[in-house]
Symmetry: C2
Subunit: 227 residues, 2 copies
DNA sequence: CCAAAAGTGTTGTGGTTACACCCATGA
DNA sequence: TCATGGGTGTAACCACAACACTTTTGG
């Protein structure tokens, strides 16, 4: 094949985690020459014989050590020819969610170069990474209405109020507690456990668990949440 | 930047058109060495300083002369390292729709190398193009439930029965004529014209037109069609 | 007057919304 | 006993599904 191109291909990951009743994104502090010490999404160049998804997972592991519960392709950014000042780079962006119980609280010490940032307190980002992050946020909110995404963000066992709070945070509007409970329960993919969690004050609350089997059944038929 | 990659980047387009009460895809007959004379999606390599969308449009123009009414990024195929036998190629696939009234009936003569194929009579395709086409079909059907896609496929003025027929074809199930009409009309983005179309037999039918303004309004709020 | 396609309403049902009070606990 | 958050039911309303006959034209 006689063709010669001078375009590089990279992958970037927008990984969301939910902690302290807030949505967070995983960012890394760059060390190379360009955008030195600025915050950016996790990502890097794809190896010649490496599938794209392998590349994202490798970068995530190398740069932050996190392991994902959910990963999907988001969008390929290649309409802006100079999005990387060094050379033309096309980036395949991925969108990931991590279960709160698996979150390793990296970067709360300043020694690390990876950190969970609350989405409402983001720093300026390198390259066009803000744009990428924004499309990921749009996707997240859209998914919320047709997939019970909460379950990939919450720990394996959680309070109903935590699920509700997550929806409130992500949708940015209030929810009627009774109606929400009725709706979620009607899907049948939530199980009550017999465990309770004692909070500092107030009545102890039941812990719930997600039933994957029931969920996969429904998923194939297509669910629709309005809220 | 010291990095060197040996990966090529291409774009491919899955373009749908609706004619003779059937969904069609635009295919081209390959002429190069690999997959010579086999049918494939329209596509080709991206130029070094060319935005991705420009590349797809250029290829479409060069190979078939069609001009699209709707184009969106579909998916980037790069998990299979040997999808192109010659070299590693990552392909950014696009999904397009064309208005019936703009369809140039290429390829009904055998001299041409581009042709509209009905989706239920597809030939074998080169590379992993069947897979790409299938994801485009999935996307098309999914979009149908939250966007009035019919309007990008039908001519500017059309019969209600044509719109209905389009949904029947794409969804593969029957629709109640009265309920369908009520639902579509309730959105308010369809306008009656005062024109009539006389068919060979039967009562003449009103022609309808799509009101873009009203549609864009609704689109931002999010529409939902069940059907 | 027959064939062909267009056009048109009503009713039952099930889901969604709106809404407010009691319960269990720790301090 | 008070503060805090957890848990629950009902009634009005609206959207959807099911269903069949009449109208207009050409042959």
């Amino acid at each position: 094949m006689p063709i010669r191109q001078n375009i590089l291909i990279a992958v970037d990951a927008v990984v969301f985690g939910y902690m302290n009743a807030n949505l967070h994104v995983l960012l890394v502090k760059r060390k190379g020459s360009t955008f030195h010490k600025e915050w950016a999404l996790v990502g890097g160049f794809v190896l010649d014989d490496e599938p794209l998804t392998t590349a994202v997972k490798r970068e995530l592991k190398e740069e932050t050590g996190v392991q994902l519960d959910y990963l999907e392709q988001l969008f390929t950014f290649g309409d802006t020819v100079d999005r990387d000042p060094r050379s033309r780079v096309i980036s395949v962006a991925y969108f990931g969610l991590i279960n709160s119980s698996k979150i390793v609280p990296i970067g709360d010490t300043d020694a690390m170069d990876a950190k969970w940032y609350p989405v409402n307190e983001l720093p300026d980002l390198a390259f066009d990474h803000s744009e990428i992050l924004n499309s990921a946020l749009d996707r997240l909110r859209a998914k919320l209405t047709y997939q019970p995404i909460g379950f990939d963000l919450l720990p394996n066992e959680f309070l109903f109020s935590e699920l509700e709070q997550l929806y409130v945070t992500l949708l940015g509007k209030d929810i009627d507690r009774r109606n929400f409970r009725k709706k979620i329960m009607s899907f049948g993919f939530l199980e009550e456990t017999s465990l309770f969690k004692q909070k500092k004050s107030g009545r102890p609350a039941k812990l719930f668990r997600f039933n994957d089997l029931k969920y996969r059944e429904l998923e194939s038929k297509g669910i629709y949440f309005d809220l």
